[in-house]
Symmetry: C2
Subunit: 780 residues, 2 copies
């Protein structure tokens, strides 16, 4: 444990009077931040940020890295339209909630934070007052179940707590959670027809066949267990549960909504009413009560990926009581413990909200994925034990290797080590003997490209944050990089590049494989495996093969060695890149920037190229094609709302104009993030977008994960203190910080001036003082 630092925040009164209602609401519970023992950084977190437009965050209750993420769904979306075509609406609901919506369909227990593809939304619970059939607010047998109107005036979203008033039914719904148990508290009006729906057919998105199987047992008058099995992005996924009510229900039942072809001898029973065993594909169950005015019914829902008996054990171990306020406070304290690892002071009060909400969003995935007894379901669908680590899931690695895992190595090294072990276990359980690409809930979903787990491993190895055996790590990396049927990898290995005619987005893949191989080389080097090191350093030069010196761009090459024509470096589709173009994604050679810049004509010409990226507006025709780009996230052809360019603002450090890095970083911090619900300019992508913000706001960025280096940018904070797990602290003092003072005049680390625009991880974690002197004018 480290001592919380005192923050004197001069703008506090300003904050209290100028921000939105939502922020003001949260202030009501502010105990004051001048008390070091109760420093409440949670007050600065607004989980609603990113819920409007395409941030894809969720506003609900979660513990840091908790498996349960208990959040409202404001729509239920079919993945396909009636004509069978893809329903683009799905994309807006990756986290189940859109700020502009006016209806809530219930509260489910699993979510992604900020991803660009959807799944989950398991075990939707909805309190209902009135008829279960043909009511004004839905029905057991209706397509979308039950719903209620809500408005933001009666909504509170805080770390570890969410509350909303459901209109019409006049039920107040409150939620908090531990890591494995969701805690519901419903305040009902007086009613003879109060129900709590457990909707076992609801998904964040749906299509015919998504629900695979459901099994449910009413163990007694207040405990229900079972599981729900789905297919989809996670192809073979089962979530087990144990649910307990604070009050016995007086009746219960179900509606099985699929066509039941064969009933067998269950036809003997009236399965719809008070029959304690339910199974099928599409089940909505209900539990009925009589309530007095303002009577509270509480409900605990524990999850497990192993079994309902494990879920029950999670419930009894992790949340054995019914004290809602206690859990709410304990979870808030967990958040404060995590958030206070970085204590900042900002110029503007809204920046406090933006910063701590970003930091909050970095701790919503990966999540704990094991039971209190250490059992978890592995990728092979077998049950494993994690005796020496805590198993985690939700690895959106194409996104998160960039800044999120480096951030973990800075402030969450133990947890990152757990993630390293989780990825190694994934490898061991993989029939392909591959590390995760994009994995969740005991499944590899194969989303996006590269094998960036090797970057996470390399970063942990180089920064000494993992205790995993380096030879085991290396073997897993080497195995992963040699699966010939994976995404053009066979050709990459044999030909030195991925060919566009055989595997689309071939340039992106080639560049990323090359970087990944450099990461493997770094591990090999540290392991003393010279042959592997040299082999992978050679592979890491593959980017050269897709550089067209005539056009000056990375360009898609065909299997016969010729360049693909016609070639449009501005186009984001069909030109060798995924979610980017040759202009921006073509700069993805983080491990050999000097050589890349040399190939592209040298520092000055490269600087001009960067200027062109930021200054040339992207044409509308390219935007329409790309779901991951919104106008908000774009500066010229620089797309901050997506990941492939996240290193680009820092590339000026490799030219003669590092001040342009400072200018651009500060511009992006100011314009691409805010403290409002639409404060994310694109998908948060499991925390990567937020991790970019946290690093950049502190003044540096891990441009090359797998190395010890950070690039210096332009800090947003006035000052900051980072507490490391080694007991040391780094104090960052920004001298002459100001809205217009975006340029760095001088950087001094523990009395020594830094002249190369770089910091090293190994130096920083020794602690001490980093002083950054700001100025208003640029200087080449």
């Amino acid at each position: 444990m480290h001592t919380k630092k005192i923050i004197y925040f001069l703008g506090i009164m300003f904050l209290l009077h100028s921000c939105s209602n939502d922020v003001n609401k949260k202030k009501e519970s502010n105990k004051g931040i001048s008390d070091s023992e109760s420093a409440d950084y949670a007050q600065f977190v607004n989980p609603l940020i990113g819920t409007k437009n395409m941030g894809h965050t969720f506003p609900g209750a979660a513990a840091p890295f908790g498996m349960i993420q208990l959040s409202p769904e404001t729509n239920k979306v079919d993945m396909y339209l009636e004509d069978g075509s893809y329903n683009a609406e799905v994309y807006r609901y990756c986290s189940g909630y859109q700020y502009d919506d006016t209806l809530i369909y219930g509260f489910s227990h699993t979510h992604f934070s900020g991803t660009g593809h959807s799944d989950l939304g398991d075990l939707l619970v909805m309190p209902v007052n009135g008829s279960l059939w043909n009511g004004n607010n839905g029905s057991l047998d209706s397509e979308k179940g039950f719903f209620a109107a809500f408005d933001h005036k009666n909504e509170v979203a805080e770390p570890g707590f969410y509350s909303v008033l459901l209109h019409d039914s006049n039920i107040k719904a409150e939620f908090t959670t531990t890591e494995r148990v969701g805690f519901h508290q419903y305040t009902f009006p007086k009613s003879n027809s109060a129900h709590i729906i457990l909707d076992l057919m609801s998904n964040i998105y749906n299509y015919d066949g998504k629900n695979v199987w459901t099994f449910l047992r009413v163990e007694n008058d207040s405990v229900v267990t079972g599981y729900r099995q789905t297919t989809g992005w996670a192809r073979t996924k089962t979530v087990y549960f144990a649910m307990q009510f604070s009050k016995p229900f007086i009746a219960y039942g179900q509606k099985r909504n699929e066509k039941v072809v064969y009933k067998g001898f269950y036809r003997k029973f009236n399965e719809q009413l008070n029959f304690p065993e339910m199974a099928g594909r599409e089940i909505r169950s209900y539990f009925s009560f009589k309530t007095k005015e303002n009577e509270q019914i509480k409900l605990k829902m524990a999850l497990s990926a192993v079994s309902s008996s494990n879920a029950l054990q999670n419930l009894h171990t992790e949340l054995p009581h019914w004290d809602f306020e206690k859990v709410k406070m304990e979870t808030r304290q967990k958040w404060n413990d995590e958030l206070s690892k970085i204590q900042v002071e900002t110029l503007l009060p809204g920046q406090m909200t933006t910063f701590y909400t970003a930091l909050y969003h970095t701790m919503l995935s990966p999540v704990v994925f094991e039971d209190v007894n250490d059992e978890y379901r592995g990728l092979d669908q077998n049950i494993h034990r994690s005796e020496t680590f805590t198993n985690h899931t939700i690895f959106s690695l194409w996104d998160t290797y960039r800044a999120l895992h480096p951030l973990f190595n800075l402030i969450q090294p133990k947890r990152n080590n757990d993630m390293v072990h989780s990825m190694l276990a994934h490898h061991d359980q993989s029939v392909h003997k591959m590390l995760p690409v994009w994995s969740h809930y005991a499944n590899e979903n194969w989303c996006m490209i590269g094998y960036h787990a090797v970057s996470v491993l390399a970063d942990a190895v180089i920064k000494n944050t993992t205790d995993a055996d380096i030879n085991r790590i290396l073997e897993a990396c080497v195995n992963t990089s040699n699966v010939p049927y994976f995404d053009g990898l066979g050709d990459y290995i044999s030909m030195g590049y991925v060919s566009e005619d055989k595997s689309p987005n071939a340039v992106s893949k080639t560049l990323e494989y090359a970087y990944n191989d450099w990461c493997i080389a770094q591990i090999a080097k540290k392991a003393g495996k010279d042959a592997i090191y040299h082999d992978y350093m050679k592979r890491s030069a593959s980017y050269i093969k897709v550089f067209d010196s005539v056009s000056g761009y990375m360009r898609p090459k065909l299997a016969d060695g010729s360049w693909k024509s016609p070639f449009d470096p501005f186009d984001t589709h069909g030109q060798g890149f995924i979610e980017g173009n040759a202009l921006n994604y073509g700069l993805y050679v983080p491990h050999q920037l000097e050589h890349m810049i040399e190939m592209m004509g040298g520092k000055d010409q490269f600087s001009d190229h960067l200027d062109m990226i930021f200054n040339t507006p992207i044409e509308d025709k390219y935007i329409a094609k790309n779901e991951d780009i919104t106008r908000d996230g774009i500066i010229g052809n620089y797309v901050h709302g997506n990941e492939p360019g996240h290193h680009i603002p820092y590339l000026y450090n490799y030219t003669n104009s590092p001040w342009k890095t400072q200018e651009r970083v500060r511009m992006i911090l100011d314009s691409m993030y805010s403290d409002k619900e639409d404060g994310l300019c694109g998908n948060d992508d499991a925390g990567q977008m937020s991790a970019w913000y946290v690093f950049s706001a502190l003044g540096f960025y891990p441009l090359l994960p797998g190395s010890d280096q950070y690039e210096i940018g332009s800090p947003l904070v006035k000052n900051a203190t980072i507490d490391f797990s080694n007991g040391k602290s780094l104090k960052i003092n920004v001298i002459d910080q100001g809205i217009n003072n975006v340029y760095v005049d001088k950087v001094v680390l523990n009395g020594i001036e830094i002249t190369n625009n770089k910091l090293t991880h190994s130096e920083l974690i020794k602690g001490g003082e980093l002083v950054i002197y700001m100025k208003m004018k640029q200087s080449d």
Copy 2:
């Protein structure tokens, strides 16, 4: 271990020359039965008996009580016709095989033996020589998969071994098995296109939605693991497997036959060819080889209900080698160990086959249902450990409580004790807190009526074959008998009978509940729980409530207390009985026969009633309605092909004409059973029909399970020796046995003459000599 007794079988030469080809074929491996060390009773077993018409047995390979029952499917049947109506064809294929069929569709690993409802047929394997697509013998994407012609000339069925030549492809298929591992041996012709199909979508019967999910991993070039999940009679069933080939396959692949709505990022891969991870609802996979002439490819398939890792452990533990002949011989030896517990000599050689095949059929269910590490899946779908017993499944209790479990108490007391514990575990895991009714594969399927597990428990308690705590047993019984929503049970408890208007087949239910309650009373008595004893003895008199003294029949009564009218005691439908009528099923008061007979007018009138049953032909209109009755199984209105009347032939013992019991029993033994493929006159019903034969052939029958008593009938054997697990043996000597000497003149047990036509279990298991003197003429 007990010493095998020497059997001198005088008719051996006759047997060798007179029987069918099939039997002759088996004789080729006969080592001679005069050698006591290798007494080969397996030679007398013909697993094909019962495969023609409605015996519903399967001919394939199985170990005694083994989980794997590896047998050919000769058809694939849809449960519903195109218009949605029930396809009566399904009924013929409860075990997957019909003797008159000419095609084989593959060999699957799980079967029921003799049941009247179907399920299972998991993991169908089929060797193919030729094209996988559009071949003459099926296709990966055809509705029924692959098939091959066969004939019985090239078919061998023995205990633990099955072999058939597949025509067209000219592949010889041979099978043996341990308890948990099926062993395949395929002899191929020379081929560049040899394949082994693993059909993961095949079921013994099928309907849209039966296949729930499939998961498969190709672990390396010769090992495949995964699972297959289905719904149906077992509503929530998963079978995990691990499969190993003796030779690496050179290619493999799959056809996923359902409409795949959402592929996710698996679209990156060519999943059909050499992609080691498969999942979906309807998958056929294949594994390809090149073979030399007569090359053998072997395959081991291990099952588990817990996990694929357990299946792999089962495989490696139980069958670590590739010696097919060794396993075949070891499993045959296991059969001989079991079969030789009763050593008989018969008058006619065919009777040896009939007897030992019947004995064989009594050991095909229940089956072991746990892994070598003691783990098993419970009714709650959680994983449990069976450290103090061996868990079993397939409890067809409405059938098997009658004679099969009493037979186990005689010759398989340890295994019956395992079954008792399995049933108690079922109760503990049941959300209803009920003992099994009809359970298989971690599911209760609720088939048929009553709660006859209590009979099995009572029989074990009374015969001292269980070490389970009697109070635990009693509690489970009491719980089971008090589930108000079960099948009219609530009304039975409150009104003293089940009313026909509220629960059909109400008389059958009332009579069986009454008998069941008598069983519970016996347990209570032994446990010294007087109050419970008296309570359940009172409940056991409920049969009186459904006796209509005016008509003289048990008759359906309505909830208002009136008798249902019109009433036809001959009709088997809608008259209060299931699979029977008032004439026969109405006599089901085994626990109070004296009183029942008195109600029905006394002994002589009752004897007339019995005569009428046997002598009054059943009208055609009643037969058409009842799928479980065939003409073959009927004597008048006595229906031996079904269970409710199995006690009836012995009821003459309660009249003044016990000789009629002797006459009828002998008649049934001779006419309702044979050594031919159609040798069963109705469903074997998990061994009940065969257990009736075994008991009756030995000369006595457990008319009242839960009591210590047997009724003396008329032995078929010339002599017999029963070896008990207590080390004692009972020698049965039948003096003056002959085809026409069907009447019993005198019975002497260990020198004491029996005059009441009864034997007691406790006396029999002391061993010694039972001498039965036969005569040709009846004697009142």
